[in-house]
């Protein structure tokens, strides 16, 4: 069933996951994403991952209480993907857990065979469906990466009675990722923070949705100039309708959907819309694949489109 718990790698430089190995081999990497359901009926979500993602993408992100809307947890679904031979990217936001719980969950995730982690801050509680909940944010995304790096070194963030770092009885080893918004209206603060994330231990980056290849190219040039060398997967959020594109423009920070995309979706008949949407994703990946090391496909429930997007991108 699950990977054994006590399997700290002997060679610290050995890749801990397929995702890491693929980057090291210089392959263009495609990752997918599933969002756990609000409730215990996880069958559909797992079925789609097995049917459409297992043999098409290298790894699958499992979102962590995405958009602050309460759902089944990321760790459980990540573990179930491991059991099904699908490599998960365990998303962790710092909104809902303090450093005790985050570190404990990291150890738990490692014991459950999870190796890829994506450290995120998370949307604010007020954005979701439990607006009266107390937001935690004990750590930020940089702090979470520092915490993971500390655990990997065999310690935790706490101190013993003498003020020394606590030793772990068995240390985990993860492939640590982070997020960035390449098309933010003010991109420099994002890049400076990305630099800190890498300094804190981030080994790969998955970006917020990008629809502007030219802006992405500039971003990539900027980060490489600053010495940020880690692999970057460009984020592609599938636009299902023109309305969704307009909504992203008005309400999603750092995302700009250009007119040509909105026009294409507006002009598409209802029957053709999915195909048009697939083609747009394919075109975006084709235009940006030489600028970065991979693409992260966020299909928002249209998981069955992933094989076709990969074909449309010329990657199949």
């Amino acid at each position: 069933m699950t990977a054994p718990a006590e399997n700290t790698p002997v060679n610290p430089n050995e890749p801990v996951s397929k995702l890491q190995r693929e980057f090291e081999a210089g392959h263009f990497v495609v990752s997918g994403e599933i969002g756990p359901p609000k409730g215990t009926n996880i069958g559909k979500c797992l079925h789609e991952a097995e049917e459409y993602l297992k043999n098409t993408v290298v790894a699958v992100n499992v979102t962590d209480i995405q958009t602050a809307v309460m759902r089944t947890g990321s760790m459980a679904l990540s573990h179930m993907l491991v059991d099904r031979g699908i490599e998960p990217i365990f998303q962790m936001v710092t909104r809902d857990r303090n450093r005790l719980a985050l570190q404990s969950d990291l150890l738990s995730a490692y014991c459950l065979g999870i190796r890829n982690v994506l450290a995120l801050t998370g949307d604010h509680v007020s954005m979701g469906d439990h607006a009266d909940a107390k937001p935690v944010f004990d750590l930020d995304s940089v702090g979470l990466l520092q915490a993971i790096t500390t655990l990997e070194a065999g310690h935790d963030m706490g101190l013993d009675m003498k003020g020394n770092a606590n030793n772990l009885d068995g240390a985990p080893k993860f492939f640590k990722g982070c997020c960035v918004t390449p098309c933010a209206d003010e991109v420099e603060p994002q890049i400076l923070k990305l630099q800190k994330k890498v300094e804190a231990g981030a080994q790969y980056v998955q970006t917020q949705a990008v629809y502007e290849p030219a802006a992405f190219e500039k971003f990539m040039n900027d980060i490489r100039k600053r010495g940020i060398k880690v692999p970057v997967l460009v984020g592609i959020v599938m636009l299902k309708t023109a309305g969704m594109g307009k909504y992203m423009n008005s309400s999603v920070p750092g995302v700009k959907v250009p007119d040509w995309i909105i026009k294409k979706l507006t002009e598409a008949s209802k029957e053709d819309r999915q195909k048009v949407s697939i083609d747009i994703c394919g075109q975006l990946v084709r235009e940006m694949k030489d600028m970065c090391q991979g693409a992260h496909l966020m299909t928002l429930g249209w998981d069955h489109c992933v094989p076709d997007i990969i074909k449309a991108a010329g990657l199949a």
Binding site: T121, D140, V142, Q146, A184, D185, G254
Partner: protein, 230 residues
């Protein structure tokens, strides 16, 4: 200064429902400045309560008014003109500090809050108070251009802006500045962007109220002077 906002009238009336003799107690401190709990507001609230009580068929409700310089300091309780413990309830329109301190000073009095205490603010323009400090007990303003990320960033992040920032505003509200955008601009302006890129360790929340409970400031030398002069 401490800022507090008046509770909704319905909530106040519900709080006072079991009582007949009520004293509205104003405070001459911060809440006078932010125009919610001073002498004038106490008079006004008392009038509103009398009218509302009459309208609700509660003509038996007796409302008196008093106000002292500060409800958070034992020095001023001697100036009370009304005996608090002889009322069924005291509706304090001080901040929560005043309510708590009056309640403690007058063990037999029932002291109720007329305001919701919110924050430590500056009066940034006429009629506007903006929160500037979170009272975390471990001030980091030296590193953030004097702009507090604990309160000005909705997520209290310590290492820079998240992806929810847009056109200098926070994802939580288009009316709220992104704290880290303000910090970035200030550090850029003052040539200190090195502070933005500085990798900060996790915040020591042990100094915050949530860390070890209620905090206390003691000046032992003052306590000693007080003792010797007795």
């Amino acid at each position: 200064m401490i800022v507090a906002d008046r509770k909704p009238m319905d909530e106040i009336l519900a709080m006072l429902a079991p009582y007949k003799r009520v004293l509205v107690l104003g405070c001459g401190g911060c809440v006078t400045v932010c125009l919610t709990g001073g002498e004038k507001q106490a008079d006004l609230l008392a009038s509103q309560l009398r009218l509302a009580a009459t309208a609700a068929g509660r003509a038996d409700l007796q409302v008196d008014v008093d106000c002292i310089t500060r409800q958070c300091d034992q020095e001023f309780t001697a100036n009370l003109k009304k005996p608090l413990d002889q009322y069924d309830a005291v509706l304090s329109i001080a901040c929560g500090v005043g309510v708590g301190y009056m309640s403690e000073q007058f063990p037999k009095a029932t002291v109720l809050p007329g305001l919701n205490t919110t924050s430590f603010d500056a009066n940034t323009k006429k009629g506007v108070w903006q929160e500037y400090c979170g009272g975390c007990g471990d001030c980091m303003l030296a590193e953030t251009g004097g702009i507090c990320p604990i309160v000005r960033c909705s997520k209290s992040l310590v290492n820079g802006a998240c992806g929810g920032t847009s056109n200098g505003k926070c994802e939580v509200s288009k009316d709220m500045d992104c704290g880290w955008y303000l910090i970035f601009k200030k550090l850029q302006e003052t040539g200190r962007l090195d502070l933005y890129t500085k990798l900060r360790p996790a915040k020591k929340w042990s100094k915050d109220r949530c860390g070890k409970g209620a905090r206390r400031l003691t000046h032992t030398e003052l306590m000693e002077i007080e003792e010797t002069s007795k």
